[in-house]
Amino acid sequence: MALIKRRKVSQPGKAPKRRRPEPDQEADLDTDIWGASEEEASDEQDEGAVETAEEKRLRIAKAYLQQLRAEGAEDSDGGDQLPGGIGAALRDQALEALGQQSRKLADRIDSTATASTSGRVSRCHWQPATAVTLTADDSKAYSVCKHGQIAAVDIETGKWTSFRASSVSKKQAAVTQARDGPEWVKHAARAAGKAALLAAAVSDDGQLLAVGGGDRFVHVFDARSHELVKSFPGHRDAVTGLAFRQGTHELYSCALDRTVKTWNIDDRTYIDTLFGHQAEVLALDVLRAERALSTGHDHTCRVWKIADESQLICRAAGMALDCCRYVTGTEWLTGSSDGSLALWTQFKKKPVAIIPHAHALPSADPSTVAADTDGAAGVDARSWIQSVAAAHNSDLAASGAGNGCIKLWALRSGKGGRPEKLDDITSIPAPGFVNGLQLAHSGRFVVAAVGQEPRLGRWGRIAGVRNGVLIHQLSLQD
């Protein structure tokens, strides 16, 4: 019987433990395996003085400061006690961790100039684009579409290259038509649904691109060379949301099978599944912390505290939430299929602020608009909010629906310094359904995935609209 090799992970700062002898080595056979393990165990028990949390924090902080100094920080500016711009950087990071936006972008937006300029649509997709993701340095955007195509768009030039991901081939992706039979047999919708890609995410360093869709796989590509790294099976229904944890290669995915799964791309492994959603999960977002946010058809937003293996459940009053995005570490925006935009906080079970009919259609008379409140999905799919975006660590947010415009919102803070109100800034013209939305980190532009149909189905169709990626510059006053 082979010996089970149990290797103790040595604690940081301590001398590495004595390893047990491996079976094929000329080990000291006097040392009994069980004796060795007992000694090791007793060793650990004898220690008693384990490093406390505070000591560990101190050690990590010192290591971090050393690292910053080693990176060659510049000469100190007057007020900081620490050399270089370290003080400012640390302050910014602390504010970010506390959830207080450090950048005021909303008031700098020049509404007239922004609304007057027209955006550029890169027609890189045959079928409606469903999601778009932006690299952290605002240089490249990746979008996916219902045809299974992935397009890499360069923001500066607008040029794009495309490649395929789906395990379903292009031929299979085409909607097949039977010759005879009833209507529902003739138009075989499911094959096209299998090929569709519904979600995309790119890692912070721009190395990895993850896409997922109807074929239930999570495909991870090398973002630069467009080579497939791995296709992760596991989800039992279409993948609808993907997000990389900032600064890491940990991927979170959500699917119509009501689960959220975590993956480690470096080790090419599946880590964990999070249960809780009672209906399909439609959107996912994650920031730097090990804390994911997901929203779904069961009218809830769930904050997954991965380390604690628990979830916080916030409930919407009869609103099926279609999209979500973190604004700060503890506040987020959601858009729902009854046309309302909501601002939530982790500390309250109900939304902090709701804008009903954020994307009301111009032709709608007030009586029908009013009748649509109550959580029922608005009759017209063009009023559903399919995408929301927020500029990282600032007070600027955006929302997109099918009524032909992307709306920019300002997040106004309340007493605690946390965002409590939404103010309408301006609208950007965006023909078609805005299925994916990203605000640049600098706040200089908006990237949107636009198409003729909504993201997850064909509840509406706007003919004559170009499918692709819309890039619209925002003019900021300095």
């Binding site: 604690q11 650990e44 220690e47 961790a97 209906a279």
Partner: protein
Amino acid sequence: MFARAQEQPTLAMLAEQQEVKTAVGRKRARTAEEPSELPSRPTAKATRVPEGEAAAAQPPQDGKPSAKSKHRPAEASSKRPVKRLREVVEGTSSTHRDPRFDTMLGSFSDDKFKKRYSFLYDENLPDEQQELRKSLKKVKGAETQQSLKQQLKDVQRQIAEEQRRRASEKTAAEQKGQEREAVKAGKRPYFLKASERKRQALVQRFHELKSSGRLEKVMDKRRKKVAAKDHRLVPRGRRTAPT
């Protein structure tokens, strides 16, 4: 192969997580930002979620739900797979109330009921009567005819009762009106006895029967009824007719 991205230890991460290793196992302590906001409780596994996903907020240590925790989002475990029989959306639990015993629904008042639901006696029951008559003509079969007849009788009885009640209400209201006028005119208020009221109703009925010509018939019936009732007082020997 891709190099593992070195996780830079940032202040943000420090603010978020502390790790305390103990000899026995690993327990992750509360993060830095949480103790000030959430009530303190044992870490790691969340509490058991009640049926139908109606998880309540975490109770704090003192056992009383604090004002803050009432508005907090519910916390539940993320390790329990969702059952096949699940509550997709928070369903409204229909509470069943018995109107007889529920104080929220008020107490029953006969005349108010009759006033509000007078349409039943004015429209619904007469219509039912007509329908029953029609079906009596059509339907064949002794049993069904019998039951229909019974139904018809019941409906007619209800209508007749309501008419009688309304008539007596009317007379009572008239009398009250007269008394009120008299009091207004200056006379002292006078209240009729119950027996007096009964006697007056009887007198009125007598006059009605006489005018309609049914007096003799009704009186005969009544005499017969009374005689039959009094027959019990006849001694045992004389009860049956002599042979």
